[in-house]
Symmetry: C2
Subunit: 139 residues, 2 copies
DNA sequence: AAATCAATTAACGTTTACGTAAAGTGCGTT
DNA sequence: AACGCACTTTACGTAAACGTTAATTGATTT
């Protein structure tokens, strides 16, 4: 059943926790282009994949314009040499940017971890105090 | 000289490539609070550190409200147990979120790398074609 | 047939994160 | 004294990314 042909708009909103407004907006922006059955939208597996890419890009703080650029890199078909070169450049730019974000994440995780341990220590101290009190009271 | 006491607003805008408007806006939002010498702002090393945290958070796609939350975790001083517990929970939430972003980045880097190689292959083919042509022409 | 339900289009509204004048202030230089 | 320059406050403007009604429209259930 994972091989189904089409997804309805509500199926996608349920799966990815987005609103119909969002999906229609992405369609206006030409990021998705579902087929139609009458007036109803039928999303293809390709649309679903693109939606995943969009949401992943958004989690990483890319604007929709940037997400569009990245997605366009994926389904490129430029045969001309100059265009291929410029594509390589843009790939390099995005790669550099992502590596920076990667460092940012590791730093932030490290710092949060430090805070976590210091808070844990504080909590342990509070617990010890209570326990000593209990002992003193003979309970 | 890295130990200077204060930074002027233009020094910070130069170092971090932000506008004065941005720094003043962050001050309005209570993310920075520089001292004053008359009407002029004097940013402390603490302000500079906070600015770094803000910009790093932004690169990772956090809103200023979220950045504020994260920063507040760093300079916490809540003695009460319930608050410490809730702080631990929030740290865990942010950690989970950052780990998701981490996976997102690795996936995207992997995909970009694949596109890069396939484009490189295409470029190599174009080069070979030209070279064979040269050989045929005896040059 | 009436009613309910999921989907549609159209259009104005909202939040975030600043941009962009406009008008003024203090201070070192000419 | 006049000037330029960096800095200031105040306040309206704006782009992005949807939210939120409103008014319809089939389709299906009763």
């Amino acid at each position: 059943m994972t091989d189904r042909r089409y997804y309805t708009i509500t199926e996608l909103t349920a799966e990815f926790a987005v609103t119909t407004r969002t999906l229609r907006f992405y369609e206006d922006e030409n990021l998705l282009n579902p087929e139609r059955q009458g007036r109803k939208r039928l999303y293809t597996p390709r649309d679903r994949t693109r939606l995943k890419l969009i949401l992943r890009g958004k989690r990483l703080g890319f604007s929709l314009a940037e997400v569009r650029e990245i997605i366009e890199m994926y389904d490129h078909a430029p045969g001309e040499k100059g265009q291929l070169q410029r594509l390589q450049d843009r790939i390099q730019d995005r790669t550099t940017e992502l590596e920076q974000k990667h460092r940012d994440i590791l730093e932030t995780l490290e710092e949060l971890n430090q805070v976590k341990w210091s808070v844990q220590k504080r909590l342990d101290e509070l617990d010890n105090k209570k326990n000593r009190k209990s002992e003193t009271l003979g309970r």
